[in-house]
């Protein structure tokens, strides 16, 4: 939870991604309590409603769950769930963008595949 907020993306998406990153890095463990929306608001100097929106994305996707009156907790299996989803998004977020840029530069399909092989 020590990352800076950037201006490139919606704040609430960044909040949800930061919590996910902390789960992937074992900074937040499964069944552990995550900071409250008011804590997050103060930490990042953002509106609590925005912080809540970020947290709720993770509740909706099942990464976090709510214990009434206590707070939000990391679900069992959250880490695996995040990895699975990020793999699925990899195509949209990275592969498509690479292909688009390759087309505008006139890079052939064969050359692109060769580059990927070499990048390893």
């Amino acid at each position: 939870m020590n990352e800076f907020l950037s201006k490139e993306k919606s704040i609430y998406i960044q909040i949800s991604e930061m919590i996910e990153n902390d789960i992937l890095r074992d900074i937040l463990l499964e069944e552990e309590k995550v900071p409250s929306t008011n804590d997050l608001a103060k930490m990042y100097t953002i509106n609590p409603a925005t912080a809540a929106k970020g947290v709720n994305i993770l509740v909706d996707s099942g990464v976090l769950y709510k214990k009434r009156g206590i707070g939000m907790f990391v679900s069992e299996g959250a880490k695996e769930m995040i990895m699975k989803r990020r793999k699925a998004e990899f195509y949209d977020n990275y592969v498509k963008a690479i292909v688009e840029e390759a087309i505008s530069l006139g890079i052939t399909r064969a050359d692109l595949i060769k580059m990927i092989d070499e990048a390893k």
Partner: protein, 291 residues
């Protein structure tokens, strides 16, 4: 009925009309940002909304009570104006900070002295100094202390961070959020330092030449407003049927600020670049001079 409602507010100074029928409803428990250029009418609107000045036409209700000349309504509102002290010890400038704060204490029924004491400490403000001896930033600190300690349900700040250094500004935002989390008070903050406060505002209001031209959830506004540039014809296709601002054409290329529908997404193609915009850039596109 937990709202502050401005209905058709018109304000004229002589023949000069500065507010042209402002209709705006503020809900309890939100932080609003009021953004407008110099002379747009921000201070006038806030002073009318807080019952400090009469409107030429229209009225303001708070939680169903008329604000003008009504103590019950006024007790719910605090408008902490910028302190403008002229040189010399005449008038209010001759007061020491602690004397000024003592006067404020009697003015607001819910005044919380513990907030005052904490802020004096956080800001390292010398309360034995006279107001006329304070710097611009220190005067801002005094107005912030009064506004936060007032505990008023509806609290308006007019340029609260003017002259404050970056550390003091950060202190202000953090304490504001803390107080907001604890109390659920409604805050309206007018500011020219847009970007650093943008993430605090749940909603923003753009006031342009005496009219509210936009009132929207900040994150939604930022999420759906993009800068589109590239091949002229392709940009035209995207602009069709959409709200656009600040359209610029240079040779075969075109650029525009485009408002997408909620949920709509636009991606880069070989011919166009789509870039996110921050609140300040959106404000300039909507309220700045046409290119």
């Amino acid at each position: 009925m937990n709202t502050l409602e401005c209905k058709g507010i018109v304000k004229k100074f002589g023949s000069n009309e500065v507010l042209h029928g402002v209709d705006v409803t503020l809900e309890k428990g939100k932080i609003y940002g009021l953004i407008g250029r110099n002379g747009a009418g921000k201070t006038t609107l806030l002073s009318i909304a807080s019952g400090q000045n009469p409107a030429t036409a229209g009225e303001v209700d708070v939680d169903g009570l008329k604000v003008w000349d009504n103590q019950d309504a006024l007790d719910k509102i605090c408008f902490s104006r910028e302190l403008n002290i002229t040189a010399g010890n005449t008038g209010i400038g001759g007061l020491k900070v602690k004397e000024y704060l003592k006067a404020a204490r009697t003015y607001f029924p819910g005044y919380d002295k513990s907030i005052e004491e904490r802020l004096i400490k956080e800001f390292e403000l010398d309360i034995k100094k006279r107001l006329s001896k304070l710097s611009k930033g220190m005067l801002s600190m005094v107005t912030i202390i009064v506004a936060l300690a007032s505990k008023s349900e509806y609290t308006f700040f007019d340029e609260p961070v003017a002259g404050l250094d970056v550390v003091a500004r950060d202190t202000f935002y953090k304490i504001l959020l803390e107080e907001f989390a604890e109390s659920g008070r409604t805050f309206v903050i007018s500011t020219h330092i847009i970007e650093e406060a943008a993430d605090i505002f749940e909603e923003v209001l753009f006031l342009d030449k005496g009219n509210i031209i936009l009132k929207e959830n900040t994150q939604e506004l930022v999420g759906r407003t993009v800068h589109v540039s590239g091949v002229s014809e392709e940009v035209d296709k995207i602009m069709e049927g959409k709200k656009t601002y600040h359209v610029e054409t240079i040779g075969r290329s075109k650029a525009a600020t485009v408002m997408l529908e909620p949920g709509e997404e636009l991606r880069n193609t070989a011919d166009i670049t789509v870039q996110p915009m921050n609140l300040q850039q959106i404000f300039v596109a909507m309220c700045g001079k046409e290119a």
